[in-house]
């Protein structure tokens, strides 16, 4: 009896989750990718606020931090946390600079391929152009008006840290509204973007850290 009940329950759960998240058809995938790629090409800069939620299965609630992010295509990026503490990290001219509550640190990443990959990953995640079929096994879903791309990293460089990346696109937007980075342990970090502005003028000095 218990087995039947749990099988039924599983069926209901699966049905509900299927109802919420539906795989895209091939033609939906083609048009979705086409739209994102063409719109992403038009983006030269971006600024946004973000809230980061770190989820750990054994904790009663997620750890929340907030800040703003600036991006200048192709290779300038600033993450600036303002709460619960001030901390910022900038990627610029092959250098990473860190400002930890006024304490500064610089790391030259030079031609380090791993860092280049991580940089591309971050820039790609935010701008939405992540459709590298060699690097990721990608599947596409729709949930109401949201489009979702789920990427499974193929190279060990990334898969040892992140087992899946989920990108959420709100209707009519080619940049992501939410990123979920799932770790091998199934704990994850969710970053939700708000107040996005694209193609605004950013000074080079905005990325000084």
């Amino acid at each position: 009896m218990k087995k039947i009940l749990s099988a039924l329950l599983m069926l209901v759960v699966t049905t509900i989750s299927l109802a919420q998240e539906k795989a895209m058809t091939q033609s939906e995938i083609t048009s979705f990718k086409k739209e994102v790629i063409s719109k992403t090409k038009e983006i030269t800069s971006l600024s946004t606020d973000f809230t980061q939620y770190k989820h750990m299965s054994f904790m009663s609630k997620d750890i929340e931090s907030k800040g703003e992010m600036l991006l200048q295509v192709p290779n300038k990026l600033l993450w600036k946390y303002s709460t619960p503490f001030e901390y910022s990290i900038a990627f610029k001219d092959n250098k990473i600079s860190i400002n930890d509550q006024g304490k500064k640190n610089k790391v030259d990443i030079g031609n380090n391929k791993k860092f280049a990959k991580i940089n591309n990953l971050i820039v790609g995640s935010i701008s939405g152009n992540m459709f590298d079929e060699k690097e990721f096994k990608i599947s596409y879903f729709k949930n109401g008006k949201r489009s979702i791309a789920k990427l499974i990293p193929q190279s060990k460089d990334i898969s040892q840290y992140i087992s899946q990346i989920e990108l959420y696109f709100d209707e009519g937007q080619s940049t992501v509204s939410e990123v979920k980075l799932v770790e091998p342990s199934a704990d994850y970090t969710r970053i939700v973007f708000k107040n996005k502005k694209t193609n605004i003028k950013l000074n080079d000095s905005s990325f000084n850290n």
Binding site: F58, W79, Y81, Y87, D100, K103, Y161, L181
Partner: protein
Amino acid sequence: MIRVLIISIFSLLAFSCKSIKIDDIPKDNYVSNEAVVKNTYFATIGEEHIFRANITVFKNELSGLLVVKRIDDQLHRVVLTSDFGNTLFDFSIYKDKYVANYVMSDINKKFILNILAKDFQLFTAAHLPVSKKIADGQQVVYLGSYNKLKTVVIWDTPLERVSRLIYGTPNKAKASYNYTKSEEGKPILSIEHYNFPMSIKLTPMTDE
């Protein structure tokens, strides 16, 4: 960055036999006193502690979040994440063993894990068996051992809590775990190693 850290940590081996004499605690005239001192900081089951962590290893710095939670009588969960949220290590800490649930590959070396696990076994210990004591001004200093490691437990009498735990003896101290210091009016916990240059500074993000 990680590579530099690893090289630094490897060179720890050369230092690892060193220890120091602690100046500000008595060296002799202890009297026998079999007891168990309670360290309440991480003793409450279910209580979640979140710290901003600044780790220094041979002048290299790393920052992130450290989470400590006592799950049950036997177990503390200790997790360090980077500021971006990705997990650097995730330990289940028991009194006499540890389980590494996840460790970022760059630091997944047995001796690094052993150092970190030993630190967190002592740092989170709730019951500290002692065998000798001496009163010293506003503190009581106990000598004992935890999990076969020699310890010095310093009890702050006015605060009525453990202010410091030392791994080693007053004459040969290897590391110090501090619970009651403050910096610029903010409480700070810390782990300092005397036998190699590694320290962990923890600023509570939850109300402690």
